[in-house]
């Protein structure tokens, strides 16, 4: 129940904010009957309208994951963000090996096997996509 109410409330606020944002779009010199504001206004209105049903008549709440599973997901999110940040600094192979090993470990692999798995995935992708297919990957201080 509450999940859908929160969804509805968030979309209601988002829709109103979107309409407010649309109303403040700078109009340029070139003008046509529609202008740059109207269509976003319609979309914002649609979002506001569609948020009413979940607010008034919410669906039963989904089975949210346990606190433990939530932690796992948050951890994976942190790994992804960290990966995106360090990728250009560390270079593709080291960064990917670390991120893949961490994910593999959290998905239930033993630590040692996770490290092997991470290195395997990083080197595998490097060989297939960079060496064979010629895709450019992030280059770090080690040149890989």
């Amino acid at each position: 129940m509450t999940s859908d109410r929160v969804l509805g409330a968030v979309c209601l606020v988002l829709g109103l904010a979107f309409m407010f944002g649309a109303s403040r779009i700078q109009t340029g010199f070139i003008l046509d009957p529609l202008g740059p504001k109207t269509f976003p206004m319609i979309i914002g209105g649609l979002l506001v309208l569609s948020s009413i049903v979940p607010l008034v008549k919410p669906d039963p709440a989904p089975g949210w994951p346990s606190a433990r599973a939530m932690m796992e997901i948050a951890l994976a999110l942190a790994v992804f963000v960290g990966y995106a940040v360090v990728l250009p600094e560390l270079g593709f192979v080291p960064a990917t090996a670390i991120a893949a090993a961490a994910l593999s470990w959290r998905l239930g692999n033993t630590p040692l096997k996770s490290i092997l798995c991470g290195v395997g995935i990083a080197v595998g992708i490097y060989v297939v996509f960079h060496l064979i297919l010629g895709l450019s990957l992030a280059k770090g201080p080690l040149g890989i």
Binding site: I25, P54, I121
Partner: protein, 511 residues
């Protein structure tokens, strides 16, 4: 006759050695992607689009590669349905009903071979239907002006949830989110910045590939973490991987009927492959199941949904190619693929680039034959892929997604955006908000606005121009009916679908 000549030209394009090799590679990769649990056709194609794009393949070969992947994934989806009772994708759900019982009776090999043949029949004849029907629809589409196109886009969104949709307000919400995201960036015709918040990376708008890979692939990783260790593959003995002629004789009529039903369901807006396989299965059950063997390993119960869902997948290509408006989730991803290659489907594509269209259609035929030939002898290999544990598979999928997105722009900003879409996709999937309207909104938002703009410019700002022609009034009425019908029938259809699945599961598994 004209059509046949064009098709022959298409075959000339597709039958070069290089393109045949790409089709083979695509079919092979696609079947593996389809067979892997949790990596359906949409996911698989989504991850591969940026890669095919950055490899710098010309349009036609890239198209051949990716459509082969798509068809291959449709074939592969049945493998885990039959062996593990886990549908590889949503349309393969009905295949579990009789496929898994067959596997438990030691006839897994036969079920796999039979479903391979049915898939072939379904998609082969659906592709023939596409050849016949698409040019007709193109002629109709040439009558469309901007007002009609605007109505058509609305129709696509209104019917996207399908007749079995549970919650139309959530479909509308998803469409609004997608359209809203499409508004970000510089407005093409007035040059105004919209919703960019002064961020340089947002000036060109959000790359739809970033959104698709995030929403589909990255959110899948989160879902996997939530249910980790839930399903591990078990060894299954395959038995003989052939279909006895007696079984073929018994099932061919089933395949023909299911193909017709599936194709029609695929062409109509708002139905799609899941409904195609459901209709085919229930119709066959009513018609031929006199002894009550459906649900306990009847070969006809495997043939019907497989022929039905593959025919629907082919049928869904008709509106996507000829009008440029996809009617289902998987065709929305295919549309993304075309747009990434700078090809806008629609009537003009048939007129200006017949080699692309007919090369693509010829590639579909070739992919079909390849998949049939590949699937029967090599199914043992694909089965082994199923045994790859998720703790190796999922990190690899995530990392390949990152590689694909990074290779497009090389920017950390896009990677962050993709992660954001992944988290958003996870939450929305938990809340039962469909993701496909979001994708379609991002893909079509700017075109939709352009058509509205053109319609209003022609009419000098008169909004009544949107409903001025009989054609546009017709499309608007269809859109209204399509949006309202699920409110009335949605619960009934939904209940029926799940009741069929539950009853069959209970019959097959008495304990």
């Amino acid at each position: 006759m004209d059509t046949l000549a064009l098709l022959a030209q298409g075959f000339a394009v597709a039958l070069t050695p290089e393109n045949l090799a790409l089709a083979f590679l695509g079919c092979f990769l696609g079947t593996i992607i389809g067979a892997l649990p949790g990596l359906g056709p949409s996911n698989g194609v989504a991850i591969l689009i940026p890669l095919a794009f950055t490899l710098g393949l010309p349009a036609t070969p890239a198209l051949i590669l990716l459509t082969s992947v798509y068809y291959g994934a449709m074939y592969g989806g049945r493998i885990s349905s039959i062996l593990l009772n886990i549908p590889g994708d949503e349309p393969a759900l009905m295949t579990t009903l009789d496929g898994y019982p067959m596997a438990r009776q030691g006839k897994a090999g036969e079920a796999l071979a039979l479903s391979g043949v049915s898939s072939f029949v379904g998609s082969f004849f659906a592709t023939c239907g596409l050849v016949l029907l698409a040019p007709v629809l193109v002629k109709l589409a040439l009558l469309f002006g901007p007002a009609e196109y605007f109505a058509l886009f609305t129709l696509a969104f209104a019917t996207l949830g399908g007749i079995s949709s549970r919650n139309q307000s959530k479909s509308a919400m998803a469409a609004a989110i997608g359209l809203g995201l499409a508004m970000i960036g510089i407005d093409g015709s007035t040059g105004t910045q919209r919703f960019t918040f002064g961020e340089i990376h947002l000036l060109e708008g959000i790359d739809f590939l970033v959104a698709i890979v995030g929403l589909f692939a990255i959110s899948e990783v989160f879902l996997f973490l939530e249910h980790r260790g839930a399903d591990a593959a078990v060894g299954v003995s395959l038995g003989r991987i052939t279909v006895p002629l007696a079984t073929l004789a018994k099932t061919w009529m089933t395949m023909v009927r299911s193909t017709v039903l599936g194709f029609v369901a695929g062409v109509l807006p708002g139905a799609g492959a899941s409904l195609g396989s459901f209709i085919a299965y229930t119709f066959e059950k009513r018609l031929v199941d006199k002894a009550g063997t459906f649900g306990s390993g009847d070969p006809r119960g495997v043939a019907a949904p497989e022929a039905g869902n593959n025919a629907a997948a082919g049928g869904a290509l008709v509106p996507m190619l000829s009008l440029g408006v996809p009617g289902s989730g998987t065709t929305a991803v295919l549309l993304a693929m075309l747009l990434a290659l700078n090809i806008t489907p629609g009537p003009l594509l048939f007129q200006n680039n017949p080699d692309v269209v007919w090369g693509l259609i010829a590639a579909l035929f070739i992919a079909n034959f390849m998949l049939l030939l590949m699937n029967i002898p090599m199914v043992g290999l694909f089965v082994r892929v199923l045994m790859v544990p998720p703790h190796i598979l999922m990190p690899a999928v995530a990392m390949i997604s990152f590689v694909g997105i990074y290779s497009i722009s090389g920017s950390t900003f896009d990677l962050m955006l993709m992660i954001g879409f992944g988290a958003l996709g996870y939450v929305l999937r938990k809340l039962d908000v469909p993701l496909v309207p979001i994708i379609l909104g991002i893909l079509l938002g700017n075109q939709m606005e352009d058509n509205l703009r053109r319609a209003l410019t022609i009419s000098n700002g008169e909004w009544s121009a949107l409903v001025a022609s009989p054609l546009s009034i017709g499309i608007w009425s269809l859109a209204v009916v399509g949006f309202v019908a699920p409110l009335v029938f949605g619960k009934v259809v939904q209940a029926k679908m799940s009741a069929t699945v539950r009853r069959a599961a209970a019959e097959a598994d008495p304990d």
